[in-house]
Symmetry: C2
Subunit: 451 residues, 2 copies
C-alpha cells in the first residue's frame, strides 16, 4: 500500500523549490517513515527531495528505498553526488548495489570515491556470492588490547556514528589478529574501574566465521548462539569484518524459501518472481517439469505392459488416477515433513530407524482409513463386492509405501551428501506414479484372476 498522505505537499514544495521545508521533511521523522511517505514519488522527484538535506541524512533515508529506486538513483543521477552517497552507505549494502549496476557506471563511480572506500569495496567484491566474506561489513568496532576501559569509551564516542554496530567491540593485537570480544554492556558496567585494560576484560573463547565459509553455516552459528554479530577472520586469524544479525535473518529466509521452492519442484529462483526474465523462469521450471514428464511417460509404457488386463477389467481404469494421486500425496506429505525437520535440525540421518517405524505405523493407519472409504465407492463400479476388494487392498499398500518412500528418500539423499529438498516431492510423486500402477494392476490380476 503506497502512502499518499504527503504527496501533494511534497510536490508543491518541489515545484516552489522550497529547500527549507524539504529539509525539514527529511529530518523531522524516523528515516523509515520518511522513505515510506516518498514511495509515490518518481525516482527523480525522490532524489530532488533528498538533495535538500545533508549527505549522511540522505544515506539514512536512501537505505529504506526499495531496491529498484536505489539502483535507478545511483545509475542516473549526477555521478559525483551518487559517489558521495555511496561513501556514506554501509559497506555490505553498497557492494550488493554496485554488483547489479552497469559495469561502465560502476567504474565511473568508483573513480569518484575516496581511495579508502574504493579499496574497501574491491576487497568485499573479491569474495564469491554465498560466502561469509560476501555477507560481511568491514565497518566494525575494533580496538587494541592495550586500551583501558576509559580510552575505549572515548574512542567509541568518536567512531560510533560511522559504524553499523558497536554492541560488540572486537579486541585485536598489534597485527590485527582477533584476540577477544568485549560487549558495550560490559564496557558500561566497568565504568567504575576505568583503568582496566580490554585484554583483562575481554572474553577470549569466541565463535568466529572464516571469510570463505558458507553463509548458511555462519547463519546457523549466529542463530544457535543468539549472537548480534559474528566476527569474520581470514586464514591467518586476522579480523576482516563482521556479519550482523539482520543479514542472518535474510540468509535464514533465503534458505527456507529455496527449500520450499525445491519442495515444489523448482530450481530456486534467487531473483524476485516479477523481475526474473521469462526465459530464465521457464528454464528453472522447465528443467524439472521435463524430467518429471519423462518419469510420467514411463507410466504409459507400464500401462502398455498391462494392456490385456486393462481391456478385460474396464472398471479398473476408472480408479487409475485416484490410486496414482493418493500414493503421490502420501509420499509428498512424508517427504515435506522429513525435509523441514532436517532443515530445522530436529532430525538427523541417524534417526532413520525411528522415522521408518513412525511412517510405517502412520501409513498403515491412514491407509486403512482411506481403504475403508475407497471400498464403498469401488463397490458402486465393480461387478461384485469381491472384485471391489482390489481398491482397498491397493490403497493400503500404496499409502504405506508412499509414507516409507517419501520419508526414506530425503534421508538417503542427505546421507549421500546431496540436498534432500532437491529430491523433493515431485520426484517422489513420479516414483509413486509407477509404483502405484504396478501395485494396482498386480493386485487386480491376483484378486480378479482370469475371470
Amino acid at each position: 500500500m503506497i502512502n499518499v498522505l504527503l504527496l501533494p505537499e511534497l510536490r508543491e514544495m518541489l515545484a516552489n523549490n522550497d529547500q527549507e521545508e524539504l529539509q525539514q521533511f527529511c529530518t523531522a521523522l524516523n528515516p523509515t517513515r520518511t522513505a515510506e511517505f516518498m514511495e509515490g514519488l518518481s525516482h527523480d522527484e525522490a532524489w530532488a527531495v533528498l538533495r535538500a538535506t545533508d549527505v549522511p541524512r540522505r544515506a539514512e533515508i536512501f537505505q529504506y528505498f526499495d531496491h529498484d529506486r536505489q539502483i535507478a538513483i545511483l545509475s542516473e543521477q549526477n555521478p559525483q553526488e551518487a559517489a558521495d552517497l555511496i561513501a556514506e552507505l554501509y559497506a555490505d549494502d553498497r557492494v550488493d548495489l554496485l554488483q547489479e549496476m552497469e559495469p561502465d557506471r560502476v567504474e565511473l563511480l568508483l573513480s569518484l570515491l575516496p581511495k579508502s572506500d574504493r579499496r574497501d569495496i574491491q576487497r568485499l567484491q573479491a569474495y564469491p556470492e554465498g560466502t561469509a566474506g560476501s555477507l560481511m561489513t568491514t565497518e566494525m568496532a575494533k580496538l587494541g588490547e592495550q586500551l583501558t576501559v576509559r580510552e575505549a569509551l572515548d574512542e567509541l564516542s568518536h567512531l560510533g556514528e560511522h559504524l553499523e554496530t558497536i554492541y560488540y567491540i572486537y579486541v585485536v593485537d598489534a597485527e590485527d589478529k582477533l584476540r577477544g570480544v568485549v560487549s558495550s554492556r560490559q564496557l558500561i558496567s566497568s565504568l567504575a574501574r576505568g583503568q582496566t585494560r580490554l585484554a583483562e576484560l575481554m572474553q577470549t573463547d569466541l565463535q568466529t566465521a572464516l571469510a570463505t565459509e558458507d553463509q548458511e553455516s555462519v547463519a546457523a552459528k549466529v542463530e544457535k548462539l543468539d549472537l548480534l554479530a559474528i566476527p569474520v577472520v581470514d586464514d591467518g586469524g586476522k579480523l576482516v569484518g563482521i556479519i550482523t544479525h539482520d543479514d542472518v535473518i535474510d540468509v535464514v529466509r533465503e534458505e527456507l524459501i529455496e527449500d520450499a521452492q525445491r519442495i515444489g519442484g523448482i530450481t530456486p529462483l534467487r531473483e524476485e518472481y516479477l523481475k526474473i526474465s521469462l526465459l530464465l523462469l521457464s528454464w528453472k521450471r522447465g528443467a524439472w517439469l521435463t524430467i518429471l514428464f519423462f518419469t510420467a511417460l514411463l507410466t504409459a509404457f507400464a500401462l502398455g505392459h498391462y494392456e490385456d488386463a486393462l481391456e478385460r477389467y474396464a472398471w479398473v481404469v476408472l480408479f487409475l488416477p485416484l490410486i496414482v494421486s493418493t500414493g503421490g500425496n502420501s509420499g509428498n506429505q512424508a517427504a515435506t515433513l522429513v525435509i523441514t525437520a532436517l532443515t530445522g535440525g530436529e532430525l538427523t540421518v541417524k534417526d532413520w530407524r525411528r522415522v521408518l517405524v513412525r511412517e510405517w505405523l502412520v501409513g498403515m493407519l491412514l491407509g486403512s482409513l482411506l481403504a475403508f472409504i475407497g471400498f464403498f465407492v469401488a463397490w458402486r463400479f465393480a461387478p461384485s463386492p469381491y472384485q471391489a476388494l482390489v481398491i482397498p487392498l491397493t490403497i493400503l499398500l500404496v499409502v504405506t509405501i508412499g509414507c516409507l518412500a517419501g520419508s526414506m528418500l530425503p534421508l538417503i539423499f542427505r546421507r549421500l551428501g546431496l540436498d534432500p529438498a532437491l529430491m523433493a516431492n515431485p520426484f517422489i510423486a513420479g516414483i509413486m506414479d509407477i509404483t502405484g500402477i504396478f501395485i494396482y494392476l498386480n493386485v487386480a490380476i491376483l484378486v480378479i484372476g482370469d475371470l
Copy 2:
C-alpha cells in the same frame, strides 16, 4: 555430533567430588562451549556439574542445554535449587519452559520463587500463544525521561548484568508510558555532554508492537527495519516488554516452515517431528489426505462418465496418469512460486494481471515443449499419427491451465483474507486431476470422433 573429549575427566571429577575443578570447568570457557562438552553426560550428571558453580553461571550454561534436558532438570532436581535457577533465567525463556512442565511441579516451583518473579511469570503467561505478549521479555532497560546521560550510564552500569539487552534504552514518563528510545551507542557518543537529559536525546518517532498483536506482524516490522529489539506496549501505551532479534529469527523460521508444510499438504505440526504423538501426526496428515482423497474420488466418477469413449479408444487409457501428473506438476510449480513470493513480500494481490500474463506465456512455452516430446511417444501407441495428436493438444492445454490455476488460486485466497499456503499444492493437484481428465477425454472425442 556429541563432543566426548572431556567426558572421562568430568566423570572422574564427579566421582572424586572435586568441586574446585568442576567450578573451574564451569567458568573457564564460553558457556555455549561448556554446555557442548556436557552433552554426553546424563541429566543428573550435568546437574551435579552445574551445582559446583554459582547460580548466575549455572543459568548461563543451562540456557544452552537442549530443551529436554532443561525440562528434566527443572522437573526432577531439588525444588528450591530449581526455583533459584528459574529466578535467573530470561523472563521469556522460563515461561516457555514452565508451560511444558507438570502443573503440580509448576505450582510448587512458583511458590518457591520471589514474589516479583512469580508475578512476572504469571503476567507473561496471560498472553495467548502467537501474540507479541507471549514472545516478549519483561527485562528491558527502562529509564525516566528526566535522567541525564551521566545518570543514565550510571543506572545502566548497575542494571546491565541482569538484562537480556541494553542496546536500546527505552525512555518512559512518570506513568511508565513509552516516550522514546535512546541507543547505548548514542549514550556513549554523548558522554562529552553528560548533563543532557534523555528527553532531549531520545528519538520519539518509533515503531512499537501491541501486546496482543500477532507475532508474525511484529516479526515483519523488526525485519523490515533491521531492529535489534522492538518495544511492546499495552492498550494504554504503557511499556510492558521488548521482543529481541533472536526471537524474531525463531518466528521467521517457524512461519516459513509452516508455509513449506502447508505447501506439502500438512496442517503445520508446531511440534518436533520425532516428538509429536503418532495419533496427532496421523490427524494432521489424515485430515488433508482424506480431503484430497475425496477430490480424487471425483476422478473415478468423471471417468465413469466417459466409459464408452475409454472402451472405444483403449490406447488413450495408457496416457491417463501422464496427463494427470503433468497438469498437477505445472500447477504445483506455479503455486509454490506465487506462495513464496507472497510470503517474501515480492508480490501482492494487485499484481495479478502481470502474474496472469507471465504464467500464460510460461505455460504456452513449457506446454509446447512437452507437447512436442509427447507427440512422438503417442505415435508409438496410437493407431495413426492423426489420432496421436490428441496427446500434444491435451498437454498444451493442461500445462497452460495448470500454470494459470496454480498462480491465480493462491492470489484469490489471499484476496479473500485466507492463507494462500493453505490452498497450496495438493489441492491444486486435485483440481488439475479432474480438469485434466475432462480436457483429455473431450479432446479425444473431438479429434478421433466416432471412428
